[in-house]
């Protein structure tokens, strides 16, 4: 799906790169989580993957074609992003915002029916049909997050990138968001790559984990390979233990 090859990135005017020689793949139909301590370069990597930051060395391939070679609209039909912070907007309804997700597609008369069909389907999918005429500023944090995910889904992307989709949310809405992403992956086969902080959530949702440290790829692999006691200590400088629940789930328990 997406191949990142020897990615190196430095901000303009700075000689020291923020990201050094990072190589990994985002496999089709899988969920890839990016983890790392604050300042490890996660958000910078996210903006490189979206194409907003132009990498100086290395390349990012989307289905074998360099991301930089995609035209804006073409890219927006393949790749959709949900950012960490959303603009504070008022007086726009849920449906109106979700409909903006169709911007990369034609808005000609004969495409209108298809657009409407996609918007309806997406609203159903994220369980917002009942709230479609509600103003966004009247929604809860979790509902707002679902609206932005719905907007991204209306783009009918192959790959969905999310920057810390559970941050600023209550635990109920965090789980609701993760459940939705898991469903989208399992039922629709959507490829997802997201930045997450909560390691138990990473363990629960991910097929692959990419760990960054000081702007370099620290390790990558399945959650069980990456999230070991030793690696967590090396990465985050905290002591932890990995516990197994009765139904086979793993969770990361931090020791104070």
């Amino acid at each position: 799906m997406m191949n990142i090859r020897h990615l190196t990135f430095a901000f303009r005017g700075q000689s020291q790169p923020v990201l050094h020689d990072i190589t990994f793949d985002i496999p089709r139909g899988k969920i890839t989580s990016i983890i790392g301590p604050n300042g490890s370069g996660k958000s910078t990597l996210f903006r490189c993957l979206t194409g907003q930051y132009k990498v100086q060395k290395g390349e990012i391939l989307l289905d074998g074609k360099p991301l930089a070679k995609y035209k804006n609209r073409e890219r927006a039909r393949r790749l959709a992003m949900v950012y960490q912070q959303h603009p504070q907007i008022s007086g726009i309804t849920v449906r109106e915002l979700v409909a903006t997700g169709r911007t990369p597609y034609s808005n000609r008369r004969h495409d209108m029916a298809k657009n409407k069909q996609v918007i309806d389907a997406v609203l159903e999918q994220v369980d917002l049909k009942m709230l479609e005429h509600q103003y966004i500023n009247q929604l809860s944090g979790g509902q707002k997050q679902r609206v932005w995910i719905a907007q991204a889904l209306a783009q009918e992307p192959d790959l969905l990138l999310l920057d810390e989709p559970t941050v600023f949310l209550d635990i109920e809405y965090q789980l609701e968001t993760l459940k939705l992403l898991k469903e989208l992956n399992q039922e629709k086969g959507l490829t997802i790559c997201l930045i997450l902080h909560d390691l138990t959530q990473v363990m629960e949702i991910s097929d692959q984990v990419i760990a960054l440290k000081d702007g370099r790829l620290f390790t990558k692999g399945s959650p069980y390979e990456v999230l070991t006691r030793e690696r967590i200590e090396e990465l985050f400088h905290v002591k932890s233990e990995i516990l197994s629940t009765a139904n086979g789930h793993k969770l990361v328990h931090f020791l104070l």
């Binding site: 979206t50 804006n72 073409e74 603009p87 726009i92 309804t93 109106e96 903006t100």
Partner: protein, 332 residues
């Protein structure tokens, strides 16, 4: 944004149109000379009544000008507030009007023979000022309070230069002083034709691009995600807003606060979706300026005060209210 005009918005548009009709009739009837409704009907049917000449030569172009200038200033403010994501943006607050005004004064006083350059130079003056304000505040993310301070500072500088010119060329001030305070009273039929043909097609373009303005208020990240050329649309809409402001200033002088007040009322009534907001803004702008102009003519009739003064009296307190409200919310 796939949005339909719902029934309430349709109703609001009808109410605003009817209100505009009333405003037009009152505007045509009232002033230093009162013209009865019956006489207005007679004049429209082609009768040569006592006040027919005043009606056709002065009153009617003035009312039409009020409608157009009100629309142009209101839409300029609406676009600027969206493009800058700044709730207190307006051509006056940003200094665009004073830039256009200075350019117009230079033409009127220094090059009165080159009056054809008035509009293009007013546009350049407005654009130049907007560019300075944008450059001064860009590094701080164009925060509303910085933009306002920069706009006020630049306006003060332009005002100083203008004052020097007015003193140095005091023998050429006939007509200019009235214009400086912002008035619709000087508009002729020729002005009305120019105002219409230069700006009405641009209104049509803005209405067609309303959905793009909706994307602008979602911010740069979302626009990028949707594959929309951010810089292109920011420039395009900024140019359009300055264009409307400059055209208005070139013909009527600086009339402040229409672009500030109207979009706020519009947003309160129909929300932020520009597909609904723009038509409402246009009608509200026309109503507000026309109403203010009628007020300007009747407050101390038979004398009249410039409509720019009336708008300052209305807009000043509104501006303070917005400063307090957005300041409390930490949005400045």
């Amino acid at each position: 944004m796939g949005v339909k005009m719902n029934k309430q918005v349709h109703l609001l548009l009808i109410v605003l149109t009817l209100l505009l009709g009333v405003n037009i009739i009152v505007g045509l009837a009232m002033g230093s000379v009162s013209i009865s409704f019956q006489e207005i009907v007679q004049i429209f049917t082609g009768e040569e009544t006592e006040h027919a000449r005043i009606f056709w030569q002065i009153r009617f172009p003035r009312v039409l000008g009020g409608i157009m200038i009100g629309m142009y200033l209101a839409i300029a403010g609406c676009i600027l507030q969206s493009v800058l994501q700044n709730p207190i943006a307006d051509p006056g607050v940003l200094g665009i009007s004073s830039g256009a005004s200075l350019a117009a004064v230079i033409i009127m006083l220094l090059f009165p023979g080159s009056i054809a350059l008035l509009i293009p130079l007013a546009f350049i003056g407005g654009l130049f000022t907007f560019a300075i304000v944008a450059m001064l505040t860009f590094q701080n993310g164009m925060k509303p309070i910085h933009v306002i301070l920069a706009g006020i500072s630049i306006s003060a500088i332009w005002g100083g230069v203008q004052a020097i010119l007015l003193t140095a060329y005091s023998d050429r001030l006939i007509g200019v002083m009235n214009w400086l305070n912002g008035t619709l009273g000087n508009l002729t039929w020729s002005d009305i034709r120019i105002l219409f043909f230069l700006a009405a097609p641009v209104i049509f373009i803005v209405l067609l691009l309303a959905a793009k303005l909706n994307l602008i208020i979602l911010g740069d990240d979302v626009m990028y995600n949707l594959g929309v050329p951010i810089v292109f649309y920011r420039f395009l809409f900024s140019f359009i807003a300055v264009y409307f402001a400059a055209i208005s200033v070139a013909f009527t002088g600086v009339i402040g606060f229409v672009g500030l007040i109207v979009p706020h009322i519009g947003r309160l009534l129909v929300g932020n979706n520009h597909i609904r907001l723009l038509p409402v803004t246009l009608l509200l702008g026309a109503n507000l300026l026309l109403g203010a102009d009628t007020l300007a003519r009747v407050i101390i009739a038979p004398q009249e005060i410039p409509v720019g003064t009336v708008m300052s009296l209305l807009g000043g307190p509104f501006f303070l209210y917005l400063l307090l409200r957005h300041g409390k919310r930490g949005e400045l």
